[in-house]
């Protein structure tokens, strides 16, 4: 634990104050605005989950949307069963006569919540073991996870009788949580999502500052050297992949609650790349920054699309390109840089090596070989 841990805690506290007190007040507790913002917050969770594996361990997971989708579908399956007596309607239309076995346990909410975390974690773990045992790294991680994502989405669409196919799972019941029926337009639901994000962020901050996080960063910088120190690199990579997948599943469950349906587009390539973009815009080195990146990009998208109905997509593309080119470490990097320059200027340009040591290493990994 170094002093950066305390800065991160303070930043987290500021962030929480903003989302718990500032945002609802600014939006005058309006149901629609809070619902929209709750959507951004749930996306912030999946973005910070990616920051854990990508920013900390250097594993670019282009299949993050797959685990996100698993969580979303787990929640949707539970809500679908609640609204249908016995067999969900779309199964009847697809000539499925009996409730498939995999669906049965989703009657139970506690099973659903567990499955929404553990199934993505297990799948993420399997892929991770499969890849990291063979010391697959760099761009090949991206390709394997991307291929998995495409195959998984195709499979979900193909198995229409079990998954609702292209339409996804729609016509869902509202969630009942310990006697409280969740209204997605209520302030309490907003606080539920904000609370989930806070817990996820606290976990993320804790992981990045633990010894575990330090070893992950070591792996990111040079996996071979870390291996020579006697660390089992594959195990570390697998664990962080699982944690990241579970968090993505969690985000997926919340996303289903916000939008009131689950769709296979949650597992699409463009959604998955969008997650990467949010994370890059905020700054992949910090889970908090990645979460803020997701919120900012989505907020920007919402506002731009309101003003420039025809051109908002193009503007977003331009913003992404500019961010990647001129802010390689995202907003976080810019802020860290500015603060460092200010400090240097104050000390009259004197180099302070301790200062540099405190800063996270820039992600300018050597070109893949």
């Amino acid at each position: 634990m170094n002093s950066r841990f305390y800065y991160d805690l303070i930043a987290l506290a500021v962030f929480c104050a903003v989302i718990f007190l500032g945002v609802p007040a600014l939006m005058s507790y309006d149901g629609f605005e809070l619902n929209t913002f709750a959507r951004y917050l749930s996306l912030a969770i999946v973005s910070m989950a990616l920051a854990l594996s990508w920013g900390t361990a250097g594993l670019l997971n282009l299949g993050q949307a797959a685990t996100f989708g698993m969580g979303a579908y787990a929640m949707a399956m539970h809500l679908k069963l609640k609204v249908s007596d016995g067999l969900p309607d779309f199964m009847g239309w697809n000539n499925v006569e009996k409730l498939p076995l995999v669906w049965v346990p989703f009657e139970s909410l506690s099973f659903t919540l567990l499955a929404g975390l553990l199934v993505p974690a297990a799948v993420g773990g399997l892929i991770a073991i499969f890849m990291f045992r063979a010391r697959i790294a760099g761009v090949f991680v991206a390709v394997i996870t991307l291929a998995f994502l495409v195959a998984f989405q195709l499979l979900v669409i193909e198995q229409q009788g079990f998954t609702g196919g292209q339409n996804g799972l729609t016509g869902l019941a509202p969630l009942t949580l310990a006697g409280w029926t969740v209204d997605t337009y209520s302030v309490s639901f907003y606080y539920l999502v904000a609370g989930c994000l806070t817990v996820a962020l606290a976990l993320g901050v804790y992981i990045s500052h633990s010894k575990f996080g330090l070893i992950l960063r070591a792996i990111r910088e040079d996996a071979d050297r870390t291996r020579f120190f006697g660390y089992n690199v594959a195990t570390y990579q697998t664990v962080i992949f699982c944690v990241s997948a579970a968090l993505a599943g969690w985000a997926g469950m919340l996303y289903t609650l916000v939008l009131e349906f689950a769709s296979p587009t949650y597992m699409g390539v463009s959604f998955s790349l969008a997650i990467v973009i949010w994370c890059a815009v905020g700054g992949r080195e910090s889970v908090l920054a990645a979460a803020v990146g997701a919120i900012i990009v989505n907020l920007l998208e919402g506002r731009l699309s309101d003003v420039f109905v025809e051109g908002w997509h193009m503007l977003l593309g331009i913003v992404f390109v500019l961010v990647v080119m001129f802010m390689p470490r995202g907003i976080y990097g810019v802020i860290v840089d500015v603060v460092r320059r200010l400090n240097e200027a104050r000390r009259g340009g004197r180099q302070d090596s301790a200062e540099d040591a405190l800063l996270p290493a820039t992600i300018q990994t050597n070109r893949e070989r």
Partner: protein
């Protein structure tokens, strides 16, 4: 550690946290002037202008806007102008849900006109039903839905197939090859077709589904060549259909022996396929651009004048167009002070309107009575109407499901 340094650093990370609240009032509170009983009537227009579905949806967007402009130019409704609020859901269901909320909750639209795919309609349904708003959906679809908050302007399976299948068996033969995209619409149309075929003594030689956006049909064409069916019953949509038709033509399969009979191919697709490749094949639809009525002549003329002489109208854009007029007629029946989505719906039931395809009627189940037609594509990209049904055909969204009927009270199960 130096205190100043510490503060600077808190500033750094804290600022990241604060960034979301920067200039928050401008960014966050995006309310527009509320509807209330103002000078105009806000209506939502929710068609994708970007993304894969934009190919078709931009024409629906255009047709809807054309009708709104015409109505406004003629003085509006009750002296009030219709104010279209346009959103671009970018062909993505999650964005549909988000934008529909904006239109229905924030902008207080009394109705929203939108969408082409079933997936996007279903994404919009939760907020529409919860807020008891009204969603005008112009597309042909698979039926089997009975929402009290959706006005269905397109054909359901019985309206497209009841005339078509007997005619196809009689003219070409009983052996059907079914090809569709892998989603609910093609599967449901095929289900209905199979039930008709079993009554009429037809058979399905092969049934297959390709992913949406699939573009290489070599294997499909090989299978068709091997099976030698009498009819290719196609429910392939959008650019997949364009690729399918072009490759079918390039493979020199003869439309006179093995015609493609499509439920989804319209003037838009044919324009991209090219008249030559489309010629000789058939489509079943309630409207073709060349249909000869004064209403249609006016529609086509205005559409071309507004959006360009090379533009085409088709059976979904026609519905998008006449639905706005149905909306207007319903508004006119209401007292200006009592305009709510639910009142508009109730006023719309039983309305008749001279649409470009003929006189259409809104059923109490909120689907539309239409005039099915069978058209053969010509090399100029237009369809020649071969058969037109004698009478207006009533919509039966649950025709394939015995004991279930969609009524004015919602779905009734016997």
């Amino acid at each position: 550690m130096k205190r100043r340094q510490f503060l600077g650093r808190v500033g750094a990370v804290g600022a990241v946290g604060m960034a979301s609240s920067l200039s928050a009032p401008a960014l966050l509170s995006s309310t527009r002037a509320a509807f209330a009983q103002g000078d105009d009537i806000p209506v939502g227009v929710l068609f994708s202008l970007t993304g894969a579905v934009a190919v078709v949806e931009h024409t629906l967007h255009d047709a809807t806007l054309l009708a709104i402009e015409e109505i406004n130019a003629a003085g509006g409704v009750h002296g009030k102008q219709l104010r279209p609020i346009i959103e671009d859901p970018a062909s993505d269901p999650a964005t549909y849900a988000d934008r529909a909320r904006r239109l229905m909750i924030r902008d207080k639209c009394v109705s929203v006109f939108g969408s082409y795919t079933s997936a996007s309609r279903q994404a919009v349904l939760p907020v529409t039903e919860q807020r008891n708003n009204l969603y005008w959906y112009p597309t042909l679809y698979e039926g089997r839905e009975c929402s009290r908050n959706v006005m269905y302007g397109g054909a359901v399976p019985n309206q497209q197939q009841d005339d078509l299948i007997p005619w196809a068996i009689e003219n070409f033969g009983p052996r059907f090859y079914m090809i569709g995209n892998n989603y609910v619409y093609p599967k449901e149309e095929n289900n209905y077709c199979k039930s008709l075929l079993s009554k009429l003594g037809g058979e399905v030689v092969h049934e297959e589904y390709v992913p949406l956006g699939h573009s290489d049909f070599s294997s499909v064409i090989n299978r068709i060549r091997a099976e030698e069916p009498d009819v290719i019953f196609a429910t392939v949509v959008g650019d997949s259909d364009v690729a399918f038709a072009r490759q079918y033509h390039a493979a020199e399969l003869d439309p006179a022996k093995m015609p493609v009979i499509s439920l989804t191919r319209s003037e838009v697709e044919v324009k991209a396929i090219g008249g030559e490749a489309a010629a000789g094949h058939f489509s079943s639809a309630p409207y073709f651009m060349g249909h000869n009525t004064p209403e249609n002549e006016r529609f086509v003329e205005n559409y071309k004048a507004r959006f360009g002489a090379d533009q085409v109208t088709h059976f979904v854009s026609e519905a998008a167009y006449f639905q706005v007029y149905q909306f207007k007629a319903a508004l006119e029946k209401l007292d200006p002070s009592e305009i709510t989505p639910a009142a508009i719906r109730d006023a719309a039931v039983g309305l008749t309107l001279n649409a470009p395809q003929g006189e259409v009627l809104i059923d109490e189940n909120l689907h539309t009575h239409l005039w099915p037609k069978i058209g053969q594509w010509q090399s100029d990209g237009q369809a020649k109407v071969l058969i037109q049904s004698e009478e207006r055909v009533a919509p039966k969204p649950y025709a394939a499901y015995e004991g279930q009927t969609c009524t004015g009270q919602g779905l009734v199960k016997a």
